[in-house]
């Protein structure tokens, strides 16, 4: 791995960490419940991107599966919470 790719991946990890911190800030200070759900949605997508970068850093396919599972369960969680905000119950 040349220094170009090495430092580029470190920079990408740093940017994603900043992005996750921003989403976490909105998750903590969000004035309404829908703000918090939206911040959680953003947080899991950033975490999934971080998984993909880590997969390139360690040259391993395992992180890819983890990213896919994150995307899957993140969608289920966000949709369930949005549905809960809409109706007051998840399964009708």
């Amino acid at each position: 791995m040349t220094p170009v790719l090495f430092w580029a991946l470190r920079l990408a990890l740093l940017l994603l960490a900043v992005a996750m911190l921003c989403a976490l800030t909105r998750l903590l200070i969000g004035p309404t419940a829908q703000d918090r759900v939206m911040a959680l949605d953003c947080l899991y997508i950033n975490g999934m991107l971080m998984m993909l970068v880590l997969g390139i850093v360690y040259a391993s396919n395992v992180y890819f599966e983890a990213a896919m599972l994150t995307a899957l369960f993140g969608f289920v969680g966000s949709t369930a919470m949005a549905k809960f905000l809409l109706r007051g119950e998840v399964i009708e």
Binding site: V4, L5, L16, V18, A19, A33, D41, I45, A82, L85
Partner: protein, 119 residues
């Protein structure tokens, strides 16, 4: 740092991977920063879609290029992630938007503001 024994990649593949990884991360960071910066919920909901579309696309291209060159075969599984996100992110956003409108109206808010008629 690297636990696995990896053969040297051609320079062009490393440069393409580096550029797209940094681009994707930068788009995700910009989108998340908008989440903090913008004033109201109805403006904020537009910001994270930047990370969910361009960010995921760029990162997927980086992953595909890196693993394809490294493994001497086409690594297309990563397209599954981007297809899945492209299908599910709008669904979540629509549900969230409807929930937000419903809750605002329950509180007595007048949303969305009346559109300006053309005539």
């Amino acid at each position: 740092m690297n636990d696995f024994i990896v053969g040297p990649l051609p320079l062009w593949a490393e440069i393409v991977t580096a550029v797209f990884a940094v681009l994707g991360a930068a788009f995700a960071a910009i989108g998340s920063f908008g989440l903090v910066r913008l004033p109201t919920f109805f403006r904020r909901i537009h910001a994270p879609t930047l990370g969910a579309t361009v960010g995921v696309w760029c990162m997927t291209i980086a992953t595909i290029v890196y693993f394809s060159v490294q493994g001497y075969s086409l690594f297309l599984h990563a397209v599954l992630i981007v297809l899945f996100i492209a299908l599910t992110a709008p669904i979540t956003t629509i549900f969230l938007m409807r929930a937000a409108l419903f809750r605002e109206r329950q509180k007595g808010g007048d949303v969305p503001p009346a559109a300006k008629s053309a005539d």
